[in-house]
């Protein structure tokens, strides 16, 4: 029998905060939900970044297969031009399509990399949309007009309004911190209104919704939230910001309670985050390090380019392509969001760069140099780990991925800007991603009050399909964790695997078509990423 299944995405949620909040009475509903279900830490993908991670949640495939590695996408293997990643870049089936094949509807609400929306049997509201064009992120086309009839419908709060988002930047004053938190409380309330409407009027067997407030609030307010960073004698301003930030989680708890109640007692509800969270305390200027190590040469007019005014924010996305001397650069980082180093390969760059025969040696030496680099302040290595493309992105879509992906000692993201110093301490810690997120699940057949060992983000699609009663395509990379389910339930509901069905699209994604690249998109995206702490 098919069961109603609800996925609640809590972007960036971490037990580092949720556990104390559950214990302290800030999130009483979540505590009761955990007691009637299963909890586990959930290991994210590499890199633990919102677009690749949520795409894994909703496809059951790793980035090397689904093809999303960053907010941005290279135009082609070896291309130095990048553009905003879109749904057309995803090279595998979506869980909504898997559900549809079994005759089940799906609603997918507010997830990134969902524009243009898929034409599924069900509903899509794409996330990370500009509010003026949220209509275009909706499927079916009449959905937006229906949502407009809701009493408190406000697209500026549901979607992206740069005028609102740009106010929150690192180091903003108390009022702006508190307004930022307030915006995200209102945003979750708007999404609850949308979901209530959909549950009542247009229900699906699978409903997936992303609430992105935890990530947004934590990026800006981490030092006010993390118990480990809370000062012994906080200032009145710090206390007010902390109280406001905690207020977000109090309201989130109410919203989760309302959502679960609306889903009904027979529904399986799975709450997951795409990654965890922690503090970033320094900025590693990776391109300057590459320059110092002899891999990268800035163009002569980079300083002038950096000081150029740009009222529309044009020209930022592929800015590295104008900053670098491509005749003398062999390795570079093009985006501040993925910690990915690209090696300039001669075969892809008209003979400039690293010859194919020399690639393995070159890459191995670069890895060694990165791992052995130490911060002169403390004499300790800055780069904790380096994953090669084959290690991090093994799969049919891996050709677009960076050659190397760095894990930094503070878990943070690199800067791609030139700087006089390679490692610069931050004046205050900011929130950044960590590999371990959360999973909480409750519903028919799921064990109660049980903590299980770490699961993988890859397991979420199998868990959801199992709950729906849908056979699992046999190329999904995760599993249905038997330890989540009671033995009796598992005996009466064995996991069914559908052999011979590949979830990899035979057209290598629908993208080819999307040439939105370059300079326009990231104006906003960079502004948003900056305020989230991705860009210094």
């Amino acid at each position: 029998m098919t069961k109603k299944t609800v996925l609640v995405g809590l972007d960036g949620a971490t037990f580092t905060l949720l556990d104390p909040f559950m214990e302290q009475g800030v999130m009483p509903f979540l505590k009761s939900f955990a007691e009637r279900g299963v909890r586990a830490e959930l290991r994210s993908v590499v890199p633990p970044l919102t677009p690749p991670a949520w795409t894994t949640v909703l496809t059951g495939r790793s980035p090397g297969h689904h093809g999303i590695f960053d907010f941005f996408q290279a135009d082609g293997p070896g291309s130095t031009a990048i553009r905003l990643a879109t749904s057309g870049d995803i090279q595998v089936d979506h869980i909504a399509e898997m559900a549809n094949r079994s005759g089940l509807r799906a609603s997918v609400i507010n997830f990134p990399v969902h524009f243009p929306p898929l034409s599924i049997d069900g509903l899509v509201i794409a996330g990370w949309m500009p509010w003026r064009q949220l209509r275009l992120g909706c499927h079916p086309p009449d959905l937006y007009d229906r949502l407009k009839q809701l009493p408190d419908f406000n697209p500026r709060e549901l979607a992206m309004d740069m005028a609102l988002e740009a106010r929150a930047t690192e180091g903003c004053d108390e009022a702006e911190y508190i307004e930022w938190v307030g915006l995200h409380i209102r945003r979750e309330e708007r999404w609850l209104e949308v979901l209530n409407y959909l549950f009542d009027n247009d229900p699906s067997e699978l409903t997936a919704v992303l609430l992105d407030g935890p990530d947004k609030v934590q990026h800006l307010c981490w030092r006010f939230l993390d118990p480990a960073l809370w000062p012994a004698d906080p200032t009145p301003e710090e206390i007010r910001i902390r109280e406001a930030s905690i207020g977000y989680y109090r309201r989130l708890d109410d919203i989760l309670a309302a959502l679960v109640e609306k889903a009904g007692p027979d529904a399986t509800v799975v709450m997951v985050s795409d990654h965890g969270f922690g503090a970033s305390t320094e900025v590693f200027h990776v391109n300057s390090w590459l320059e110092q190590a002899g891999y990268l040469v800035w163009s002569e007019d980079v300083t002038a380019q950096l000081s150029e005014g740009d009222t529309l924010g044009m020209g930022h996305l592929s800015r590295h392509s104008r900053w670098l001397d491509w005749d003398r650069t062999t390795a570079y980082v093009s985006t501040p969001t993925s910690n990915g180093i690209h090696i300039v390969r001669a075969e892809q760059h008209g003979g400039r760069g690293v010859a194919e025969a020399d690639y393995d040696r070159f890459r191995a030496e670069l890895v060694e140099a990165l791992l052995s680099y130490v911060d002169e302040r403390d004499g300790k290595p800055v780069v904790k780990a380096v994953a090669t493309r084959e290690e991090a992105f093994d799969g049919s879509a891996g050709a677009l991925a960076p050659d190397l992906t760095l894990t930094l000692r503070d878990g943070g993201l690199v800067s791609i800007l030139p700087a006089n110093e390679i490692v610069i301490p931050r004046p205050q810690p900011v929130g950044t991603h960590r590999p371990l997120g959360v999973l909480l699940a409750a519903g028919p057949g799921i064990r109660q009050d049980t903590a299980i060992d770490e699961l993988s983000l890859l397991d979420v699609t199998p868990i959801l399909l199992y709950s729906l009663g849908v056979s699992l395509p046999d190329d999904l990379e995760g599993r249905v964790p038997a330890e989540m389910v009671t033995p009796e339930y598992l005996a009466s509901h064995p996991v069914e695997v559908e052999s011979g069905h590949s979830t990899t699209r035979d057209n290598q994604g629908k993208a080819g078509q999307q040439q939105l690249y370059d300079d326009e998109a990231e104006a906003i995206l960079l502004a948003r990423l900056r305020e989230l702490g991705y860009v210094e």
Binding site: F115, L312, G315, Q515
Partner: protein, 101 residues
């Protein structure tokens, strides 16, 4: 011989902008002289989404980045509906010719 005409692109663009502008409570008439950024209040991502939707509509890639780079170098960083339609039409027609040759 091009199959996509300027009129088609104009109609598709205007229909889209008129539909969207209702969601923004924009009260003015949208004409060829309307500025996307200063009159309609576009932000950069709006231009991306509009461009992508037109690509989807016509099924061909359109290098809007080239247009936006050009806009970024102007004294006034803006583009009229006419310019947008002209650029889209030329790009689509050039793509058709390239495919036919």
């Amino acid at each position: 011989m091009n199959t996509i005409t300027r009129n088609e692109v104009w109609d598709a663009t205007l229909r889209l902008l008129e539909q969207l502008s209702e969601d923004w409570d924009y009260g003015g008439e949208i004409t060829g002289e309307t500025w996307l950024f200063s009159d309609l209040g576009f932000q950069s991502l709006d231009a991306v989404v509009l461009g992508n939707t037109l690509q989807e509509r016509f099924g061909h890639p359109i290098p809007f980045a080239d247009l936006l780079i050009d806009i970024g170098q102007r004294p006034i960083n803006d583009v009229t509906v006419d310019e947008w339609v002209d650029f889209t039409t030329k790009s689509l027609q050039a793509y058709e010719l390239e495919q036919a040759s």
